[in-house]
């Protein structure tokens, strides 16, 4: 508003420049505080010299450590294997759903995407219940492991399997989008030439889809490297440590004194994730071929047998774990046989009667809501600058804000601890141990979820409108509010919904940053399971899953006011 202060003679050009400069300064300050400074602290902690003053001593010490090597190897193996599982499942399902005409298509798509919607630790808990020797689902079928044997999921293979299923939708979405862009004319032409169906598949459709399959798989791999919920619930009891859980254990066992070491582990994770993303970028650019525009290929073939097979698969990966979880939540204690005489809602009553659990729900709703709101407010001017007034500084900010979403959550949490543990200069207050550090961490992590759709929407807007506004003398703030905002608002809302869904069940950041009175739902599920109260953990997990499904429902109901392609299950 300073630029429009009365009494100061400012030419329109001058005013524009001042307003914009203020805008850039505000955005820059925000990004410096939430993102740049914490990450810089983390990297400098990892690069510092050792106790004896050796160059990069901490890094060399940590890398030479046996536990580091083991965790690194386990991370690569479980993530690689899980990406493979995601790819096989995702491609198979995408092929079936795109090339065949199936009934109940919409329901199937939603169910296939559930592993992505249900939070990771809930998913892990659900799979533990499903595969344990006391499995309420497999037990009655005689398929449960023999009593006295450990849960087979407490292993590297188990971690890979559950993460593979959880990240499968990433491959599914990418592959399906590629298959949808296969022009009908191309397939038609091939058919007229008498090329057999099998060769159309391998010779035409597959090459078109391949880059997307690779890109989706690499995305699944990055997600697996950063996953904490699954290896925490399956790997800690199974003694399979990966980088994320090793960082968690080091920090909790040794406190802030381990900061240098864990910073090195965090840099290691960032390097792996970055390598995978660069590879993905290269794949997309090198391999994707330009396609002629035209009517997309429509599936016409029916396949009842395959339909049954797909339903069986979807039931196994989406419904069965959640069913096992629900059944466990209805039992009074672990190990009790499931039967009409034993089930009750007592567990739900107990957890809802627990102050900490209720507070966790309030905290998570507050954090997710606040984060969605602030991210919307920040995204609109930032997207304006990126699309309309890009200079080197704005471009740098645009790249930088992506970082906390791209690097694993554990890395972000660690950066926050290092940056905000000591009292802040000037005000002398430490954010560590308060809700504020969670707010800052969530803001840094989730901003891209809003910024990306808003920037995309801004790019489709006609720049002439903004010019016209400027010519008639509308100031920057007025043009932002009346010309730019209306155009990007739907995208901003869509991004905010995504943030809400993701942040509600956040665990990775919260697990390291929570403090007394500032529990989150994710932390609660994790803690209850950890202290030997799986039935209560299952009840909390159920409640949180129901809440997320309710938000999905709400978003679907509002879908007609939202732009296309916003809700992942409606693409």
């Amino acid at each position: 508003m300073a630029a429009e202060a009365p009494g100061v003679p400012i030419t329109p050009a001058n005013r524009l420049w001042t307003g914009e400069r203020l805008l850039v300064a505000l955005v820059l300050a925000y990004v410096l505080f939430t993102t740049f400074w914490p990450l810089a602290r983390l990297f400098s902690a990892g690069l510092q010299s050792g106790e004896d003053g050796a160059f990069l001593g901490v890094m060399r010490e940590t890398l030479a450590n046996r536990a580091t090597g083991r965790a690194l190897w386990n991370s690569l193996i479980t993530s690689g294997l899980s990406a493979l599982i995601s790819a096989v499942l995702g491609v198979a399902l995408a092929l079936a759903l795109s090339l065949l005409r199936l009934r109940t298509q919409a329901v199937l798509v939603f169910l296939i995407l559930t592993p992505l919607i249900v939070p990771s630790q809930t998913m892990a808990l659900a799979w533990i219940e499903l595969f344990g020797s006391g499995s309420p689902v497999l037990g009655p079928l005689g398929l449960a492991p023999a009593p006295g044997t450990a849960n087979p999921l407490y292993s590297a293979g188990g971690i890979a399997l559950v993460m593979g299923v959880e990240h499968m939708p990433l491959v599914f979405i990418a592959t399906r989008a590629a298959l949808r862009s296969v022009p009908a004319d191309l397939v038609e032409a091939a058919r007229i030439l008498g090329i057999p169906n099998r060769r159309i598949g391998t010779g035409i459709i597959l090459p078109i889809a391949l880059p997307s399959v690779l890109a989706g798989s690499l995305l699944a791999f990055t997600a697996a490297i950063g996953n904490f919920g699954v290896p925490a619930l399956l790997g800690i009891p199974g003694r399979v440590s990966v980088l994320t859980t090793l960082i968690y254990q080091r920090l909790n066992g040794f406190g802030a004194s381990a900061a240098g070491q864990v910073a090195v582990l965090a840099i290691l994770m960032t390097a792996i994730a970055a390598a995978a993303l660069v590879l993905r970028h290269v794949t997309m650019r090198r391999l994707s071929a330009p396609l002629p525009a035209g009517k997309p290929f429509e599936a016409t073939r029916r396949a009842p047998v395959i339909e049954v097979l797909i339903w069986a698969l979807v039931l196994l990966i989406a419904i069965a774990p959640l069913l096992a979880l629900t059944m466990t939540a209805l039992l009074p204690a672990i190990g009790v046989r499931f039967g009409l005489d034993t089930v009750s809602l007592a567990q739900f009553a107990r957890v809802l009667g627990n102050d900490a659990v209720r507070r966790a729900f309030v905290n998570s709703l507050f954090l997710a809501g606040l984060c969605a709101l602030i991210s919307m407010v920040v995204s609109v001017p930032l997207a304006y600058l990126v699309v309309r007034r890009p200079n080197w500084l704005v471009r740098a900010i645009d790249v930088l804000v992506e970082a906390p979403w791209v690097v694993p959550g554990t890395v972000v949490a660690l950066a926050m601890i290092l940056a905000f543990l000591k009292p802040l200069p000037l005000i002398g207050v430490s954010l560590y141990g308060t809700m504020a550090i969670l707010v800052v961490a969530y803001l840094a992590r989730f901003l891209p979820l809003v910024l990306r759709p808003v920037t995309a929407a801004a790019q489709t807007a006609d720049p002439a409108l903004d010019e016209a506004g400027r010519i008639v003398g509308a100031g920057l703030w007025r043009r932002l509010a009346w010309i730019f905002l209306p155009h990007v608002l739907p995208a901003a809302i869509a991004g905010a919904i995504l943030v809400l869904m993701t942040a509600l069940n956040e665990l990775t950041l919260s697990a390291l940053l929570w403090s007394s009175g500032n529990e989150t739902i994710g932390v609660m599920v994790f803690a209850l399971q950890y202290e030997g109260n799986s039935t209560a953990a299952a009840a909390v997990a159920m409640l949180s899953a129901v809440m997320v499904f309710a938000i999905c429902g709400l978003a679907s109901a509002c879908a007609r006011w939202l732009p296309d392609n916003v809700l992942p299950w409606r693409r």
Partner: protein, 325 residues
């Protein structure tokens, strides 16, 4: 106008925070979530004006959090209520505990009170053997019964790297000439594994993934009461004990409220409630939970906690070598 209102509401907020601070205490504890919820509810029946906030985790994590917050400048914690005396002694030696010389302690077992009055045991918790009743037909009676290869390979125990109770149990067993490291080495060689806290032990045994476990008694007996297929044995050689001490941190901003909370922990009401949650009380005349032996008939293994603190690091490292860590 707007500005004045903002100042007024800021002042009001600050006032509200200050007022809340005077009556809010933060307890860092390793006692399970839902148990603490009940404890706070009972406390608030007697003292409705004192709000109790909670940070709950394993003892090692609680200690790490305190340490990190010390670096940060200040910890919100006023009261610590953790399982093991070794961690408490460490806090005391660091000069972080407040001495409570004027606390009335008549009727409290003298051996659970620190001689400098910095911490006070609130319960007696013993470590014994849990087994799955579906899988085990002849229950073990002695610690040595666990050494049998067929038993050891189906045994899980808590790790001292996570659990305070396990620190004391390991330390106590090591001080007995008939057990020592040979005992734990034989167990490991015969296939026994270590989980994390006692929670992982009851999970594994109740689910039937393991048939036997070393565990604190109330977790096993509470699970049994709720219907889990488990039972608990007090081994004939004796049990190790922890006292779940409570203490006030120096520098608390709610000293009076914290004192009230500590005093209440030792009161009859609190002790009876502890008994209802499955703990042996430390106050004379309060009956132990139904089905528990009389505390006087319990055979307790002797333990020297100073020696335990001295050997703490070495014990944990050796344990980690044997059981992975």
């Amino acid at each position: 106008m707007l500005f004045r209102r903002a100042i007024l509401s800021a002042a009001f907020l600050a006032g509200a925070i200050l007022a809340a601070n005077a009556e809010t205490i933060t307890v860092y504890t390793s006692q399970p979530q839902d148990q603490m919820a009940a404890v706070i509810a009972a406390f608030n029946k007697d003292y409705p004006d004192i709000k109790v906030e909670l940070f709950r985790s394993g003892t090692t994590e609680v200690m790490a959090k305190l340490q990190a917050e010390q670096v940060a400048g200040k910890s919100p914690a006023d009261v610590v209520l953790i399982a093991d005396t070794v961690a408490m002694t460490q806090l005391k030696n660091d000069g972080r505990l407040y001495a409570l010389n004027d606390l009335p302690t008549e009727g409290i077992a003298p051996e659970v009170i620190d001689k400098d009055k910095t911490y006070f045991g609130t319960k007696l918790i013993t470590t014994g053997i849990v087994y799955n009743t579906n899988l085990v037909k002849t229950p073990p009676r002695s610690w040595n019964d666990l050494l049998v290869p067929d038993v050891a390979k189906r045994l899980i125990m808590p790790s001292p790297l996570y659990s305070g109770a396990a620190v004391i149990h390991l330390g106590t067993m090591l001080q007995q000439p008939e057990f020592g490291w040979t005992y734990f080495k034989t167990l490991a060689d015969n296939g026994a594994v270590a989980g994390q806290g006692n929670g992982t032990v009851i999970e594994a045994v109740a689910r039937g993934e393991k048939a036997y476990g070393i565990i604190i008694e109330y977790m096993a007996l509470n699970a049994k009461a709720k219907g889990s297929p488990v039972d608990f044995v007090f081994p004939k050689e004796g049990v190790s004990t922890i006292t779940q001490p409570v203490a006030i941190l120096k520098g608390t901003d709610a000293l009076e409220a914290a004192k009230t909370f500590v005093k209440w922990q030792l009161s009859r009401t609190a002790q009876e409630q502890a008994a209802s949650q499955g703990y042996f009380p430390v106050l004379e005349g309060v009956a132990p939970p139904a089905g528990y032996p009389k505390p006087s008939t319990l055979k307790v293994l002797p333990a020297d906690s100073n020696a335990m603190l001295r050997d703490d690091k070495k014990n944990k490292e050796t344990f980690a070598d044997l059981y992975g860590g």
